[in-house]
């Protein structure tokens, strides 16, 4: 099943009357269970692409479909519900809620979805265990390392079983050992849960892990590589 379908995506930014093109007509689609990375140097448009696919921003022109739904037809509120249900985000800066514990951060998306409190707690504990943070649910973000925070962020994104996981430079703030651990974790979750992962990165290690690699440069697709399983 096609999870993401982008057609002729154009995004321009206007600053001080100056229009800068970020994406210049990109068409890409991603199937369920893909583990793909959008790679490219700074300013290539990879983050912009991820934001548009994640419905955090709107394209200047072009069309995005998430599981067949044309997102341009959705209201602001419907977009919020789409993100709530179908998309999980992992940010470079983790972006956890500082006043909540790890467990509460992870169970928060479930609360938004209306999952019963007890059930949400159980699912959050499971998600934390899946990212190797069993028993650390009561810690606040400031009491955790960068790697641990990123694991909490992954657990938070995964706990609601989204069809699409978007990770914007997920290893950028981590050392290479922790970065590799995080990537292993995401790959294993991709395999076991069948969740579609889409990264933006310029980290060679992430590129190596990706099963599909899309190269962007100056807002256009420069090339694409697909790797077979086990490579």
């Amino acid at each position: 099943m096609t999870v993401v379908e982008a057609r002729n995506l154009v995004k321009d930014y206007t600053t001080n009357g100056l229009t800068v093109p970020a994406l210049r007509g990109i068409s890409l689609s991603f199937e369920q269970g893909e583990f793909a990375a959008i790679a490219g140097p700074s300013g290539s448009g990879k983050s912009t692409f991820l934001h548009l696919v994640g419905c955090l921003d709107v394209p200047s022109s072009g069309e995005i479909r998430i599981e067949g739904t044309d997102v341009s037809t959705l209201s602001r509120k419907e977009l919020a519900f789409l993100r709530r249900q179908k998309i999980g985000f992992i940010f470079q800066a983790y972006n956890l809620i500082p006043v909540l514990t790890a467990l509460e951060n992870v169970s928060f998306p479930l609360t938004l979805l209306g999952v019963d409190r007890k059930e949400a707690k159980r699912m959050a504990e499971e998600a934390l265990a899946a990212v190797g943070l069993e028993g650390m649910g009561n810690r606040r973000p400031k009491e955790m390392s960068g790697g641990q925070q990123q694991r909490v962020a992954i657990a938070r994104a995964l706990v609601k079983r989204p069809s699409l996981m978007l990770a914007d430079e997920p290893t950028a703030n981590l050392d290479s050992k922790t970065g590799a651990e995080i990537l292993e974790l995401m790959l294993s979750l991709n395999r076991t849960l069948g969740t579609t992962f889409l990264f933006s990165t310029h980290d060679r290690m992430v590129m190596e892990y990706a099963r599909r690699l899309v190269h962007l440069r100056d807002g256009i697709v420069e090339g694409e590589e697909r790797k077979g399983e086990g490579q």
Partner: protein, 508 residues
């Protein structure tokens, strides 16, 4: 799956969501403890002051109303329409006769009725003169309607059939018709010579005063019985004899007003000092019956008004529904009496415009002042929330990315700001109520200020300003503080929500 369906599913657990955002709000407030405490104090002070001032105004108004009804007017007056229209001029020529059947009808309908003839004149004492408003009253009936005669500073209330006067305290002091409180040695000697008829009386009078160089003061510890004896000696000596000079206005059949000058010899037998300053100024009360004759005001049983109150009403009672003009007229009809067409029943409020203006003015002024204070403290909340929202722009972006809707985010910040308002409101309610306790139980003595203003500052209170409990305001101010605080978070939240999610996420 269409997101609209998801919306319905999400709504099913609103309660858990609300619990979660309340918890987040509370933790955010704890995280910024100093800012929260300072803002809370601001709200608490405003709420406390509002409760305090409101209770004070309410207390003054309740006391004023009770004092107006119990000492000045009664619940209503019956007057001729012509008199009512010119009542500020006290037009005695618009008086009416045959008051007795009306009074009897009122009494049989369950009311107390007191006839009055009000006129102006000049009262001359040995020491000077003063313009006075005289009320000719039926002492017995007056006592059933009003209670000022229970507050005689000295002496007694005038008796029927005599030219005796009960004079307001301020006029008595001005005309030196009161009990002298401070005398020079010369004045004391003269007073003794004029008043004492025996050496024992001389010693008695001298014994009432204590020397405090260079003057003599009336001793504070003089018992009431000795003061009464002293007063009787003063009255018997002729010191309290006075002369009333007045102009009787008589309306002739042609409508022309004829003026007749009249002089009456009288004696001040009592000094009124009631809780209502209007009875203690340049006011005198004397028997109505003596005014009827040729040596009086040539009245032929005429009066300017009949004061009405429910029979047996207590001093502390405010007029009830039975005492409204309509109810009184209806009660008269029930006993088979109809007022002459020229007469009307007017409610007490019609006669106290000065008080109503003062009360309204103070009400507006005080509330405007408190409103400004409220605005200041709420600016504090607005600032706190603005800072909180600005600091958490990135967090807002992340919450939007997680799928929180604009409405949910607005609600979460409203709850956070509302909690500051609620805490400030509760503390303010407690502080305001605590400050009210002594004000309700003891009040503040403003007698010196009241005296300086000759008691004429609108409120009918002579000495003690006491607050009154107003549960509606106490609870209401807490609720309003919470609601306003919550609403103040809306503009900065909406502003933050205008920012694209991607920009919020990049915000540092």
């Amino acid at each position: 799956m269409r997101p609209a369906r998801l919306e319905r599913e999400a709504k099913s657990s609103r309660h858990a969501f609300l619990k979660e955002i309340v918890s987040i709000a509370f933790r955010n407030l704890s995280r910024h403890r100093v800012k929260t405490v300072i803002t809370t104090i601001g709200v608490a002070v405003s709420v406390a002051l509002y409760i305090f001032m409101d209770a004070w105004l309410l207390g003054m108004n309740l006391d004023s109303r009770r004092n107006i009804v119990s000492y000045e007017i009664g619940a209503a007056k019956i007057q001729s329409q012509a008199y009512f229209e010119k009542k500020e001029d006290l037009p005695m020529y618009e008086s009416f006769s045959n008051w007795k059947p009306i009074a009897r009808a009122l009494e049989s309908a369950g009311y107390a009725a007191a006839p009055r003839m009000t006129f102006t004149g000049t009262l001359y004492s040995r020491s000077g003169s003063a313009p006075i408003v005289f009320h000719g009253v039926d002492p017995e009936r007056e006592r059933r309607v009003l209670r000022y005669m229970n507050y005689l500073e000295a002496g007694r209330f005038p008796k029927e059939g005599t030219y005796e006067i009960a004079l307001g305290l301020l006029a008595a002091e001005k005309l030196k018709l009161d009990i002298p409180r401070k005398l020079t040695e010369e004045e004391l000697t003269r007073l003794v010579e004029e008043t004492a008829r025996t050496p024992e009386e001389e010693a008695f009078i001298r014994g009432l005063y204590a020397r405090q160089e260079p003057v003599f003061f009336l001793r504070q510890d003089v018992p009431r019985t000795e003061l009464d004896r002293f007063w009787d000696l003063l009255v018997a000596s002729g010191r309290n004899d006075a002369r009333i000079s007045t102009v009787i206005d008589i309306k002739e059949e042609s409508g022309k007003i004829r003026h007749v000058y009249q002089v009456m010899e009288a004696k001040v037998v009592g000094i009124v000092n009631s809780p209502n300053p209007k009875t203690n100024g340049n006011v005198a009360f004397m028997p109505l019956d003596v005014l009827s004759g040729e040596e009086g005001l040539l009245l032929e049983d005429q009066v300017t008004e009949i004061l009405v109150r429910a029979a047996g009403a207590k001093d502390s009672d405010l007029p009830g529904p039975k005492e409204s003009p309509e109810a009184i007229e209806e009660a008269l009809r029930r006993v088979g009496f109809s007022l002459p067409s020229s007469l009307r029943v007017y409610g007490w409020e019609e006669y106290v415009k000065d008080y109503i203006v003062a009360a309204r003015g103070d009400n507006v002024t005080t509330r405007v002042m408190i409103l400004l204070l409220f605005i200041l403290s709420f600016l504090g909340i607005a600032n706190t929330m603005l800072m909180a929202i600005l600091e958490r722009t990135k967090e807002i972006g992340m919450m939007r990315a997680l799928g929180m809707t604009d409405g949910e985010l607005v609600l979460s910040f409203m709850i956070e700001a509302g909690m500051i308002g609620l805490m400030g409101g509760i503390v303010g309610m407690i502080l305001g109520s605590l400050a009210n306790i002594p004000m309700v139980n003891h009040g503040i003595d403003y007698s010196a200020m009241a005296k300086q203003l000759s008691g004429d500052f609108g409120y009918r209170i002579t000495a003690l300003f006491r607050s009154a409990w107003n549960p509606g305001t106490i609870i209401g101010s807490g609720i309003v503080a919470t609601l306003i605080s919550a609403l103040l978070s809306v503009p900065p939240t909406l502003r933050a929500l205008k920012m694209p999610v991607t920009e919020s996420l990049r915000f540092e």
